[in-house]
Symmetry: C2
Subunit: 351 residues, 2 copies
C-alpha cells in the first residue's frame, strides 16, 4: 500500500495511538518493532488538545514524533461509544465530551476537516458504528445514512492532495445490507475500503461470515481494512479471508492489564504460578523483554503497579502482533500461508 | 570510587530504584544517560517480592537487568517513615508492612543479610533516621544505638568478600553528637561514610551547617555520601563542601508530577502557559526529550494521564541531574568549579 509517507507492507497491523501516543511505547520503539503505520483517534484529539492546536504545532506527526504514515479514524465510533450522545440528525451528531461534559458537533465535513488538520495520511469516512444486536430497520436506516455521509466526506475531501480517503462498509449482520453498502460506496469511489461494525459483541463465527460475504464485494486492488479487530486468531482468519489492514487496542490494553500474548496462547502475568518463574514470557520470543526479563520480575512489576510493567508488557505484546503479521506476510510471499496457519494453531494446542 | 562491579566517577548522583526499577525508565536508558550506580530499597524488596526470591532468581542485578553497581539502603529509613512502627528495642525494630499490615522484624544482622541476598555492591549500616525536630535526649540515645547497630552490621558483614559496607553518621542537628557519631564510626571502620538524617524538614542553612561540621570529620580517601539529598542547588552546595555521593527521588518523583528541571529553574508542565508552546522543555538541553518533543506535547500527555508523560519527564529530569553531576566532575577536574557554581546560579537568576 502506497501512502504519501511511504510504502506499507500488507497485511498490516496498526498500533492504536489514541491520544497522540501509542500508550506506553516510544515512537522509536514502534519503528524498531516494525510498525509501519499507526492509527490516531480523531474524537480524542478533537476534544484534547484540539485539532487546531495540533495543526498550529505542525500536525500530529510532528506533535507526537512519528514520521511514518498515520491513519485517523473518523471519530464516529467514539462519539457513539464514549461520548454522551445528544442527537443524531442527517446533518451530523451532537454529543457531550466524556472528559468535561462540554457539547460538540461532528459531521462528515467536520470530521474530514479535523482529520486533515491533524495531517492524516489516510482519512476515514464519518459513519455510525451500529451496535449489536440492532433491529433490521435501524441497521438499514443507519447504513443508508452512513452512505450519504460517505458521499459528503468524498466531496469534502476532494480538494486534498495526497491524503487517501477510505469508505466504511456498514450493514450490521444483515448480509444484503452489507452488499448494498459496499455497492453504493464503490459507486462513490474510495482509495480503500473498510468493514466497520464488527467485533461489537457478535459471535466470532458470525463475524467471519460477514467478512466472507463482504470481502469479495470489495476490489482486490484497494486496501481492505477490518476495523477494531482483533485477537491473534482473528487476524490469521481474517487474512485467510483477504483482509489487508487491522487495528486494535488489544495488544496495548491487555499489556496494561498484565495479559501477555505468546505463541502458545495468552498468559496472565499476575498469576501466582509466575511468582518465582525465571523463564521469559515466551521462551521462543526474541523481543527485548523476553531477552532480558523473567516472568517473576514482570509479575513483581505488575503487582507493584510500576510504570515499567506497562512499558515492558506493551513492548512484548506489540512485538507479538507485529511479528505475527510479518510472519504472515513472509508466508504469503512464499506461498506457505496454509502451513503457517496450521503451525499457528498447532503451537496453541500444545500449550 | 572502586566497587566490585567497576569504577564510579565521583561526585555521583544515584537514581533511586525503589521496587527493583527506577520508576519510568529502562536500565539501558539509565546507562545512556550516564548513570554509573543506582540505589535499591531494602525495605520495599524485603516486603515484595522478598529478598530470598530475588536471591534465588540470581540477585537484584539480574532480576532488574542492571549490571552496574547497586547500593542498597538498610531499610531503616522506610521502617521509620513508611511502616507502621510497633516497637524499637536494642535488638531491632518490629513493624507492620505498609502494603498489607503483616508484621516483620528488622535488625542490623537481618538488614545486612537482606542486602547481601539482594547482591548489593555497597551495603548500608542499619540505623534510625531521626525525625526533625527531636529532643536532644532522644537524638543522643538514638544515635548511640545506631552506633551500636553499626558495630553489629560490621560484624555481620565481615564474612562478605567484595561488597563494601558504609557507616552512617547520625546525631540530628546536634553538632557535638555528630562529632561523637563520626568518631565512633571511624573507630569501627567502614569502606565509606554517609551522613544520614538530613533533608528531613530542617532549614537549608542548618542542613549545610551540619554538612560543614561533619564532612571534615570523615576521611577524604573514603566516599562521603549525603543520603536523600536533594535539589540541584543542594547538590552544587554539597559538592562545594566535599560530598562525593547523592541519592534522591526528586528527579523521578517530580517528573511524574510534571515538575521539570532546567538550567533556568524548575517548570511545571501542567501550566496553561505551555498549552501551545512549541519549545522544548529546555532549549539548551540536548536530551532525547528536548530534541524531539514540545512543551505543548508534554503538557498534553500530562493532562491526558498518559504513561509517556512519566516516561519522557523522567528521562529529561534524570538527564538533567546526571548532566549536572558530569558538569561538576569536569569542572573539578579542570579546577573551574568556582566558575561552574557561579554560572549555575547566573543561569537561574536569568530565568
Amino acid at each position: 500500500m502506497v501512502t504519501r509517507r511511504g510504502v506499507v507492507e500488507t497485511p498490516v497491523f496498526m498500533p492504536v495511538g489514541t491520544q497522540g501516543t501509542v500508550k506506553g511505547i516510544l515512537p522509536e520503539s514502534l519503528l524498531e518493532l516494525g510498525a509501519e503505520i499507526i492509527l490516531g483517534n480523531t474524537y480524542h484529539l478533537f476534544l484534547r488538545p484540539g485539532h487546531e492546536l495540533v495543526n498550529r504545532l505542525g500536525g500530529l506527526h510532528k506533535f507526537m514524533n512519528w514520521n511514518g504514515p498515520i491513519l485517523t479514524d473518523s471519530g464516529g465510533f467514539q462519539v457513539f461509544s464514549l461520548g454522551d450522545l445528544c442527537s443524531i440528525s442527517e446533518e451530523g451528531v451532537t454529543f457531550q465530551s466524556h472528559l468535561d461534559g462540554s457539547r460538540h458537533f461532528l459531521s462528515p465535513e467536520i470530521s474530514v476537516a479535523v482529520q486533515r488538520a491533524l495531517g492524516a495520511d489516510i482519512v476515514m469516512a464519518f459513519d455510525e458504528c451500529i451496535p449489536h444486536p440492532s433491529a433490521r430497520d435501524y441497521v438499514a436506516a443507519s447504513t443508508a445514512r452512513s452512505t450519504r455521509w460517505a458521499e459528503r466526506c468524498k466531496q469534502a475531501h476532494l480538494t486534498d492532495q495526497g491524503a487517501a480517503l477510505f469508505g466504511i462498509v456498514q450493514g450490521g449482520m444483515e448480509l444484503d445490507l452489507r452488499t448494498r453498502s459496499a455497492e453504493e460506496l464503490l459507486e462513490i469511489g474510495f482509495d480503500g475500503y473498510a468493514i466497520g461494525g464488527l467485533s461489537v459483541g457478535e459471535e466470532t463465527g458470525l463475524m467471519y461470515r460477514v467478512m466472507e460475504h463482504t470481502l469479495p464485494l470489495l476490489p482486490v486492488d484497494r486496501p481492505r481494512y477490518v476495523m477494531g479487530v482483533g485477537t491473534p486468531e482473528n487476524l490469521v482468519e481474517a487474512v485467510a479471508r483477504g483482509v489487508d489492514m487491522f487495528d486494535c487496542v488489544m495488544p496495548t490494553r491487555n499489556a496494561r492489564n498484565g495479559l501477555l500474548f505468546t505463541g502458545f496462547g495468552k498468559i496472565s502475568i499476575k498469576q501466582a504460578q509466575y511468582r518465582e518463574d525465571p523463564a521469559p514470557i515466551d521462551p521462543a520470543c526474541s523481543c527485548y523483554v523476553c531477552r532480558n526479563y523473567s516472568r517473576a520480575y514482570l509479575r513483581h512489576l505488575y503487582q507493584s503497579n510500576e510504570i515499567l510493567a506497562s512499558v515492558l508488557n506493551t513492548h512484548h505484546n506489540l512485538h507479538y502482533y507485529l511479528s505475527l503479521m510479518s510472519g504472515i506476510r513472509r508466508a504469503l510471499d512464499e506461498g506457505t500461508f496454509g502451513e503457517y496457519r496450521s503451525e499457528f494453531y498447532r503451537q496453541r494446542g500444545a500449550a
